[in-house]
């Protein structure tokens, strides 16, 4: 199994990488937990992720099963901040 995880810019700056791969993660909740574990205590993961939604293959999990959303091999999980552009 391979799950690709993409971070927000602030998260990627703290971790020093834009994305990484997870070998196992059955749900979005597991991805969030495994991502949190990669951050050092001083990075304040909770603050970085607080106003951040999660999307699986571009679709917010808010409209699926939330953190219980199940994952399959090849899924792309992205942390997403709300934003305004032009």
């Amino acid at each position: 199994m391979s799950i690709q995880v993409e971070l927000t810019y602030d998260m990627s700056k703290a971790l020093g990488q834009r994305s990484f791969e997870l070998e196992t993660a059955a749900t979005v909740r597991e991805v969030v937990a495994q991502t949190a574990a990669r951050f050092a205590e001083g990075d304040d993961f909770d603050k970085l992720v607080r106003c951040t939604a999660v999307a699986v293959n571009g679709v917010l999990v808010n409209y699926r099963k939330g953190l219980k959303t199940k994952l399959v091999d090849g899924d792309l999980v992205g942390f997403v901040k709300s934003s305004a552009g032009g």
Binding site: E6, Y9, K13, G58, L67, S82, S83, G85, G86
Partner: protein, 627 residues
């Protein structure tokens, strides 16, 4: 005269080199405010159906509104209205910079430029002396927008075109400072008149109904903006390109001519990356704007210049499979200097690249490769070689070469950088917006997909309602004239502070998704002014503007634009999306593309149109639209 208006329309005839000052029509001002609304009314009344957009009969209308000339944040914008040479329908664009302020200081609300000059010309207007000078501009013809403005000096406010406008590139724009009235080819119309620049000066002050209330309230709003998560933080820190990582994660970032919605190198074209790696330091803004969404970047050989904004990094970055911000910055500078809309330019380049990939056309450019792009942009601006084809935009190119299914435009205007398959309401907005596939005639995606309180963008709930609300709002804002970014402050900071993973947030989203009846009721309520732009209008003009008033005015403007398009031969068949968007899915949760066919009937009904998309007599009567 209603307060907030200078009370004068400057009529300029380029064929006879004559001018006159006429009184502003107060009835039009009451019904359409100013800006785009006033300009559309004039265009409708003064032109016959079927005129050549690049011929002498097409007037070029520069229009301000009652907020211009004040120090209200984001109020230095003017609208340009004419028949579009790109779409054949209504043409309009708004622009920041300092020109709107200059027009009002000159004591002018509207400038109507009629007919054509036989040789390159520029105009200088001194509003204090009521003088208009017609000056030969042969020496400026061929010069870029930056050099032209530098030569014209800083004592006056200028609206200029570059070589793209002169050569009638169908998506050429009009530039003021570093900002551009980019869309629908208004610069080509100015070029067709051989009008290189209009410069205005004056020292008149804006008269307000209640200047003290305006001053006190504006101070309050400046403070609110300063603390707001979008106005005072994300737009200020990262500019509009701060949204790249959001649209990418949502699968909405145009990639490879909209073949995909996700770009692996999105991070390196983002606003955050620009902040860390490319930004020179000073951020730029339009006059009096505290948001400072503009960036300054370093371009080799040019020094510090305006950096690319979101639409540019998407349509000339991810959409071309280019993740090199330095290259995108260079192309952005080139386009600005030539005076071209980077949205249409980017989408036309990606169309040419796909044609190249399929062996249908050879423009010498390929996806993922920056070689040849700079030269091609110059060739487009000067209509040289294959650049002559690309200068006509993707619709006309597809009619000549083929590739209709992947020419990414609506009504001839290339799509902006929000893939509507990830934002169904935005898709309805693209399909129905009178000037074509543009996002700033409503910006439904903010309410629906990318803002702080989103709804499921991929079901049918509210997807026809949101565009009506937002298009009406945008029509009103573009007539005041304010920057459309002001709508980003409509969600208070408390909403931004909510965790989208929380139950409360999900419950609020659900309630929002089911708020159709409440929304429609609120749209019709004419009460007291609540929002900042409603209060500004009220303090300045002395008339009461509530959300209900502005929805009605916005609907009036939108329907008049619709009547203009119908008169020009556009029909409900033009209310569509590119076949790629309708037929191809980019999400595993979708079987096909955007479900426009299921949403349009409801949209027409909400608009008060018949099944053919024609406003009914009752609707026209209700909105007091004289046809």
């Amino acid at each position: 005269m209603i307060k907030g208006y200078a009370g004068r329309v400057l009529e300029i005839d380029l064929a006879t080199q004559t001018f006159s000052f006429q009184p502003l029509d107060e009835e039009i001002a009451r019904l359409y405010i100013g800006g785009k609304g006033y300009g559309t009314r004039l265009l409708y009344d003064r032109t016959e159906a079927g005129i050549d957009p690049l011929g002498p009969e097409n007037p070029l209308i520069f229009a301000t509104g009652p907020l211009n000339g004040s120090v209200a944040p984001q109020s230095n914008r003017f609208a340009v209205v004419c028949k579009s040479p790109l779409t054949g329908g209504i043409g309009n664009a708004t622009c920041g910079g300092n020109y709107a302020y200059g027009m009002k200081r000159a004591g002018i609300d509207i400038i109507v430029v009629s007919h054509q000059s036989e040789h390159p010309i520029r105009i200088e207007v001194n509003g204090d002396r009521d003088e208009v000078e017609f000056i030969d501009a042969t020496d400026l013809w061929g010069k870029g927008t930056y050099e032209t403005q530098e030569i014209l000096g800083k004592k006056k406010a200028h609206a200029v075109i570059g070589p793209a406008g002169e050569n009638r590139v169908l998506y050429a724009g009009i530039v003021s400072n570093e900002r551009i009235a980019g869309r629908t080819g208004v610069g080509a119309v100015m070029g067709s008149k051989r009008l290189k620049a209009i410069s205005v000066t004056g020292t008149r002050k804006l008269e307000m109904d209640d200047p003290e209330a305006f001053k006190t309230y504006t101070k309050e709003i400046r403070e609110m903006f300063k603390e707001h998560p979008v106005m005072g933080s994300s737009l200020k820190r990262f500019g509009t390109a701060g949204i790249v990582n959001t649209t990418n994660a949502r699968g909405m970032l145009p990639t490879k001519n909209f073949q995909k919605g996700h770009f692996d190198d999105a991070m390196t074209i983002s606003g955050e990356y620009m902040e860390d790696h490319e930004l020179v330091g000073v951020k730029s803004s339009c006059l009096h704007c505290p948001v400072t969404c503009g960036r300054d970047v370093e371009v080799e050989g040019k020094g510090r210049v305006k950096g690319p904004e979101y639409e540019t990094v998407a349509l000339m970055g991810s959409n071309l499979l280019i993740g090199d911000l330095k290259k995108v910055s260079e192309w952005n500078f080139l386009a600005d200097d030539l005076g071209m809309d980077t949205i249409s330019l980017g989408a036309t380049l990606s169309f040419a690249m796909e044609l190249q990939e399929r062996g249908m056309f050879d423009a010498g450019v390929k996806f993922g490769e920056s070689e040849g792009v700079s030269e091609l942009i110059r060739d487009i601006g000067h209509r040289r070689g294959v650049g002559d084809d690309l200068a006509n935009g993707s619709k006309k190119m597809s009619e000549k070469i083929g590739g209709h299914d992947f020419a990414m435009h609506v009504k001839g205007l290339e799509l902006s950088a929000y893939d509507p398959r990830g934002s169904f309401a935005q898709g309805v907005e693209y399909a129905t917006t009178n000037r074509g596939g543009c996002h700033v005639q409503g910006a439904s995606m903010y309410l629906e997909s990318v803002g702080p309180l989103t709804i499921n963008p991929q079901n049918l709930k509210l997807k026809a309602d949101i565009p009506v609300l937002m298009q009406n709002t945008a029509c009103a804002i573009n007539s005041m004239v304010l920057c459309i970014f002001t709508t980003y402050a409509m969600f208070p900071a408390a909403i931004h502070d909510m965790d989208p993973k929380s139950l409360t947030h999900r419950m609020m989203s659900k309630a929002f998704e089911n708020s159709g009846p409440v929304m429609r009721m609120a749209m019709g309520m004419k009460g007291k002014p609540m929002l900042w732009f409603e209060k500004w209008l009220t303090y300045i003009t002395g008339q009461t503007f509530s959300s209900g008033h502005l929805q009605e005015i916005g609907a009036r403007i939108f329907n008049l634009e619709r009547m203009y398009n119908l008169r020009e031969g556009l029909t409900s068949k033009d209310d569509t999306l590119p076949p790629r968007i309708l037929n191809e899915s980019i999400y595993e949760t979708m079987d096909s593309g955007h479900p426009l066919g299921e949403l349009l009937p409801r949209y027409y009904k909400l608009r008060g149109w018949n099944a053919d998309g024609v406003p009914t007599a009752k609707t026209l009567d209700r909105l007091q639209i004289r046809i």
